[in-house]
Amino acid sequence: MKISDYIGLSLSNLWKRKLRTFLTAFGVTVVIGALVAMVGFGKGMQKNITESFESLDLFNSLTVFPAGPATQRFGFDPDDQAPVEKNPRGGGPILDDEAIKKLEKLEGVQSVFPEIRFPALIKFKDAEELRLVQVIPAKITSSKLIKLSLGKPFASDDEDSVILGTSLLRPLKIQDPASLLGQKIEVASIAFDFSRFNPMNIASFLQERQLPFKKTAYEFTVIGVTSAISFGGPSPLQSDVLIPPGSARRIEKLPFANIWDLFRAREGRLGYSAVNIRLSSPRDVDSVKREIQDMGFSTFALVDQFNQVRTSFIYMDMMLAAVAMIAIFVASLGIINTMVMSILERYSEIGIMKAVGASDSDIQKIFFFESSSIGFLGGVCGLALGWVVSRIINRVINFFLAKQGLPFFEYFSFPLWLCLGAVAFAVLVSLVSGIYPAYRAARVDPVIALRHD
């Protein structure tokens, strides 16, 4: 028999029982659709993370913290004992300008900038938002780390300019980001007001809810808008309001951005809470890390974080595989059921085919072609279904994220191997499901089958 004959025969048989064929194929469609959507989502996230790491040059990033309990930024245990003190002043070396100069001299280090953030009110027209303003040197604003969708980077470290993130546009009620360029916005910082601070009178502060702070407003010109930055994550960018260091120095501000800074301030160890380092190549990460640790600082490399993320993706893939296996098992039961039913219905037909010269393998192949046609149909429809579902989910997620000022984001990725693999997988599963029915069909005894009616 020719392959075209097998296909023709199988399709005409399936077409004779359209409803059952489509119901069975639909089972496969749902499974493959769900699988494609889930794997597409996983791959999409993976791709997004890898790409943003690459495009922001995050593989070249290293963050340095002062040693000691304060380095555990992500968890605080009050019973935690301070580490053995390395120098009499306690804790370890202070992360100050002197330390930065040392870090800059290390081989492979491209640039170093301290992480300085302070709370401030951002005012534009009648809108007001509280933000932690981050200080970023001019040369960093022109690096890959910051993607400007509008405007230009800081020309010098001393200009009174600000770069805003797109996530700030909506809270500030800005419709047209382009019109923002060149406009003035107000950055009102908060600082201690020693004139109002009287320890004898602390009770009255609390009663009147008047803390010893004062607010000072400074004017900044918006010169750039940066598209979605993954601040809050592991990126060195932790804010959507960026100003250069020169003008930051002139601002009266609280010298801390978080509670750890307060602890360090109390110990008289006021340095930077963290310093970001850009390396010339990801290959230098390990050697530079070691040198910095020898200097007594703690380090955090995004590459390590990335590897952790990658491991978690492997776990996610394994979970998906487990769910998929259960689903595909159910779908294959459907195929087996359909095929066995079909043998019973076509018992005499199989006998006739054998009587006119069909061999066991001919019959077997006809049934294999039938079950794999169901799988192919289900696979192709499933691929389409998965794609459509992913489009809908993507729309919905983006609709809600847009409300929070985040730009459109593609959460799904359908690489070619996924599309081909999904269909091939469906065919493979249906072929395996077809083994038993095909074997049974091939063993039909023509004498009994022809006696049937």
Binding site: M353, A355, V356, A358, S359, S361, D362, V447
Partner: protein
């Protein structure tokens, strides 16, 4: 073995066992059938005539004994070899016609060609030519339920002969037909036998009718050959 002999059986036995009960359907059958003869196998129901035909047609295997067809021992063939034998060596027709009801007449006739690896366009051509020979070309696009019993049996004959076998095995081909149509079918078989030298083995319980067309009759009783008679 004589070169004229197309079918020869030697000590052919077939025992069916259902559970503990064993039924001897055929006992020590020794038969020689010459090429180009029209043989009628007669006998009451249960005499083993259909079993004999199934064995000769390669649909079933003997319990013991040898069947030789055209010098080949089909009793020793593998399943695949038997399939090839059924495809090219013999044609079979049945009482209940055994056509595939969802396929048209011409598609039914084409079916053996599909397994014989014949190209699609050649298949159609050959099937139509065959249907023409049994006088059913105008009805080629009809499905079996739209055809009369006689017409269905003609389609079955066309299908049985499409791969040009030397032997046609007919298992009660007139069992579901009225007497006039039965006669027509047997006439057709006789004509094919005479015109092309086709060896026809006809199983029938209608002895009188069979004798009108057959050149030789074999009487079976309880699985044994009871009588053998040359009619003409």
């Amino acid at each position: 073995m004589d070169s004229k002999k197309v079918i020869a059986t030697n000590q052919l036995c077939k025992i069916y066992s259902t559970g503990r009960v064993q039924v001897e359907a055929l006992k020590d059958i020794n038969l020689d059938i010459d090429q180009g003869t029209f043989v009628a196998v007669a006998g009451a129901s249960g005499s083993g005539k259909s079993t004999l035909l199934n064995l000769l047609g390669g649909l079933d295997r003997p319990t013991s004994g040898v069947i030789e067809v055209e010098g080949k021992k089909i009793s020793e063939m593998t399943r695949e070899e038997l399939a090839l034998y059924r495809r090219f060596g013999v044609g079979m027709i049945f009482q209940s016609f055994n056509l595939i009801s969802s396929r048209t007449a011409v598609e039914n006739v084409e079916l053996p060609l599909v397994f014989a690896n014949v190209l699609k366009r050649d298949r159609r051509q050959r099937a139509e030519k065959m249907l023409d020979r049994v006088g059913l070309l105008p009805r080629r696009r009809h499905r079996p339920p739209e055809l009369s019993g006689g017409e269905q049996q003609r389609v079955a004959i066309a299908r049985a002969l499409i791969n040009e076998p030397k032997i046609l095995l007919a298992d009660e081909p007139t069992g579901n037909l009225d007497s006039r149509t039965s006669r027509e079918i047997l006439q057709l078989l006789a004509a094919l036998n005479q015109a092309q030298g086709l060896t026809v083995v006809l199983v029938s319980h209608e002895v009188a009718l069979a004798r009108e067309f057959a050149g030789e009759t074999i009487g079976l009783r309880d699985g044994r050959v009871e009588s053998r008679e040359r009619v003409r």
